[in-house]
């Protein structure tokens, strides 16, 4: 998103010179608070860097800071949020109160006609009726006119968001109110219909073309939404100050997002994060394997190689090591709250299944079902996970977790398959709804298996509170681990393979 409003903005606070370093310091403190590891060297680099860029150019200024301070792609979003808050355009026109007065101030440069070219659309238009504003929105989207979109965004926020000064909120609610009033979905539909009619003279648009057209409009709508978000944020910053806003908007980095409490948006970003992560993990494990120590001396090959040195064994040959590849059984609770956790773990385990000699997976709620076949020969793990969630037969009585019964079924049906090379991973919060624990099964499993691990997505401090009986199971496991986010999950799986 580009925000080089040079028409009506106050200069960015950076432009005032000496206090720049102080401002930068505060900015870096905010970055660190958001979890970005900014070292002292990087701090100094940033200070050096900003001396070389024109401060009036906000984009360049931003990239200069990013290049010196952000060294990881996943951190970009966090950086951007802090940047937008810290170096947002601040001026009297963004204050929340006193709408009327400002309206008058700006009216003189406003042009109410939607076809009025260019820059000044932003300020004006206070006297528009809701219908006119809607029409302006429609026009802006149809032409993809950036200036006009910005103007619409500003008007819409002013009119619909109903912002009240001094309320300690992050702006999500204001965004919701604004969008509800604009009815973007409806506009999108209208745009598409319009298109259909326009070109309908010669021939109907094919599905394919319609699809492309829709993506085009969708991207414009997304852009508008970003403009609105920025507008709301600017006003909030003007109202509440930088530190307070940065704090409200602070979000955990993707690798630190808690599985159990991830919002839908965070879930989507987690799903995106998991694929590169598995790729990285697989590459690392493979490398680890290849670079392990050499095996024992290979006598036959050494003698054979010695022939080229006249029988002197000058070049000893070693056997390639055959590292042990564990067999994995994953037993996952997929009831409501922990489903996301199970999903990510299955995803990760299957993505690196090459590192294991065999992977079998089971899911349960109060009944238990084997789901290994869903993953076999499937290229798209997401789809397999989807099938697990819809097709597996995991409900026995009422669909409330019953670890005791599920473990019982497992032991009865698959217990004989556990061998001395099997590592068993049990995933779940062990919230058993006060059913019998049947923890003797875990004990019996451990006697047959190589290891039994329990991964719990709940924070350590919640264990054994309420109906959680993880402690009872833990005494029979080789290890119990808190795995609440991708970082912890990655660490565990890496040690396992």
């Amino acid at each position: 998103m580009t925000l080089t409003d040079d028409t009506e903005s106050e200069p960015t606070p950076a432009a005032v010179g000496e206090p720049l370093l102080e401002l930068l310091n505060g900015f870096i403190i905010q970055l660190r608070a958001a979890g970005l590891p900014v070292s002292l060297t990087e701090n100094l680099d940033a200070m050096e860097a900003v001396k070389h860029v024109p401060l009036g150019d906000r984009d360049t200024f931003k990239y200069a800071l990013a290049a010196t301070l952000v060294k990881h792609y996943n951190h970009w979003k966090a950086f951007e949020t802090v940047f937008e808050v810290y170096f947002s355009l601040r001026g009297p026109e963004y204050s929340i109160g006193d709408e009327t007065e400002l309206g008058e101030l700006q009216d003189d440069d406003g042009q109410d006609q939607p076809d009025g070219a260019g820059d000044q659309q932003g300020g004006g238009g206070d006297n528009l009726s809701p219908e006119e504003l809607a029409e302006m929105l429609y026009q802006a989207l149809m032409r993809g006119d950036q200036q006009m979109m910005r103007g619409v965004a500003r008007q819409a926020v002013k009119r619909y968001a109903g912002m009240e000064p001094g309320r300690p909120v992050g702006g999500t609610y204001y965004l919701y109110r604004t969008l509800r009033n604009l009815d973007l979905d409806g506009v999108l539909e209208r745009l598409l219909e319009q298109d259909q009619n326009n070109e309908g003279d010669d021939e109907d648009l094919s599905d394919f073309e319609q699809r492309l057209q829709k993506d085009e409009y969708q991207s414009r709508v997304d852009q508008l939404q970003k403009e609105i978000e920025a507008e709301i944020r600017r006003r909030l910053v003007a109202d509440r100050g930088v530190e307070a806003m940065a704090k409200t908007l602070r979000k955990p980095l993707p690798e630190d997002v808690d599985f159990m409490h991830a919002s839908r948006e965070e879930m989507a970003s987690l799903r995106k994060a998991i694929y590169p992560l598995t790729r990285k993990l697989a590459a690392r494990l493979q490398r680890k394997r290849r670079h392990g120590r050499k095996g024992p001396l290979d006598f036959r090959r050494t003698v054979r190689a010695s022939l080229s040195y006249g029988g002197v064994p000058a070049e000893p040959k070693f056997r390639n090591p055959r590292p042990h590849k564990p067999e994995i059984m994953v037993i996952a609770d997929i009831s409501g709250s922990v489903a996301a956790f199970a999903r990510f773990t299955l995803h990760l385990v299957y993505a690196i299944s090459g590192q294991f000699s065999k992977v079998r997976s089971f899911v349960f709620i109060d009944g238990l079902d084997e789901v290994t076949q869903y993953f076999e020969g499937v290229e798209d793990i997401n789809e397999a996970v989807h099938r697990v969630n819809t097709e597996a037969d995991v409900v026995w009585v009422d669909g409330h977790s019953d670890y005791g019964h599920a473990l019982g079924v497992f032991w009865e049906k698959y217990g004989q398959d556990i061998g001395p090379r099997t590592s068993i991973m049990i995933l779940g919060d062990a919230r058993n709804n006060y059913h019998a624990s049947e923890s003797w099964i875990i004990k019996a499993m451990r006697e047959k298996a190589r290891d039994v691990y329990w991964l719990n997505p709940e924070p350590n401090s919640y264990w054994d509170t309420g109906d959680s009986i993880v402690g009872e199971y833990a005494q029979h496991c080789d290890g119990t681990f808190e795995v609440r986010n991708l970082r912890q999950l990655e660490g565990f799986v890496e040690n396992l393979a």
């Binding site: 070389h52 394919f208 492309l212 993506d215």
Partner: protein
């Protein structure tokens, strides 16, 4: 301080003149790297023009490009320098019989004449302007990264027998990474970081227009739009910029003027390399709403 460029805009223009279309971010970081005398670490998905950036910068500066391709098992003797021991042996043998002090010979065989320079040392010692490209740095092991640290922060190479060789002029250094593993903090700290992502639709269209001769504006626009839509689908491997260019070339060769579903389906294997991705995409693009 070196001043290869006057400002960010000029970097952008000069890059465009060698057919590399940059954006604000790319041009800005290149400009800063020159001013701050720091290497650039370029990260991003495969096929987004990371290596091309280094090549283009070299071309636009009229500098020599010295390239170090990284791979597993890369070591000092391949990256920095090596003693030419065969020549050293010859030297020792040639001296045999004549009475010379051991010290003389010892000093002599560890001199410049017997040193084989490898890319990193070569870049440091060059008299002419050079651009150093350390390609796919994520392929070397973490331990090997340490080899690079001295040259990246101080532009010098220490050779125990010879002493420290300092750079005659600070070269522009690019490191590229496909992000298959986390690079060490020490390395990252020494570099400016640039993430090159897939371009937005306008830039992609421009790229297609510059890189594909004889393409019409209309077709380039369509190509960019189809590729954008495909990138929105969750795929194993999204189409890269180079694949987009290949696709556009193919379409031009086939004499296509307007992409319809039929053409797209027949040529999509140029954009996508996995059968499952192809199936998913065809299904998705065929419906007006999109399945995903």
């Amino acid at each position: 301080m070196s001043n290869r460029f006057t400002d960010v805009a000029s970097v952008k223009n000069d890059l465009a003149s060698v057919d590399y279309l940059s954006d604000e971010g790319i041009a800005g970081v290149v400009y800063l790297a020159d001013r701050l005398e720091k290497p650039i670490l370029v990260e991003g998905p495969a096929g987004t023009g990371k290596t091309e950036l280094a090549k283009s910068v070299a071309k636009m500066l009229g500098a020599r490009l010295i390239r170090l391709q990284c791979y597993e098992g890369l070591d000092e003797s391949k990256a920095l320098y090596e003693w030419n021991y065969k020549k050293q042996l010859l030297r020792i043998q040639a001296e045999r019989g004549e009475s010379q002090d051991w010290d003389d010979i010892n000093d002599d065989i560890f001199s410049d004449d017997f040193l084989l320079t490898r890319p990193l040392l070569e870049a440091i010692r060059a008299d002419d302007p050079v651009v150093l490209l350390i390609d796919e740095v994520d392929r070397v092991e973490v331990e090997t990264e340490a080899l690079l640290l001295e040259i990246l922060s101080d532009y010098q190479v220490s050779i125990p027998e010879l002493g420290t060789i300092e750079a005659k002029q600070i070269p522009l250094v690019f490191l590229t990474s496909n992000n298959t593993r986390e690079l060490s903090e020490a390395l990252k700290r020494r570099c400016l970081y640039l993430h090159v992502d897939y371009p937005d639709i306008d830039r992609e269209k421009e790229i297609v227009l510059t890189r594909v001769p004889d393409i019409t504006e209309n077709l380039a626009d369509q190509v960019a739009r189809v590729v954008r839509s495909i990138r929105q689908i969750e795929l194993k491997k999204a189409p890269s910029v180079s694949e987009t260019i290949d696709w556009a070339r193919t379409l031009v060769l086939l004499g296509v003027e307007k992409i319809d579903e039929q053409t797209a389906a027949e040529t999509i294997n140029i954009l996508l390399k996995y059968q499952s991705d192809i199936n998913k995409t065809l299904k998705d693009l065929g419906s007006a709403d999109g399945v995903s």
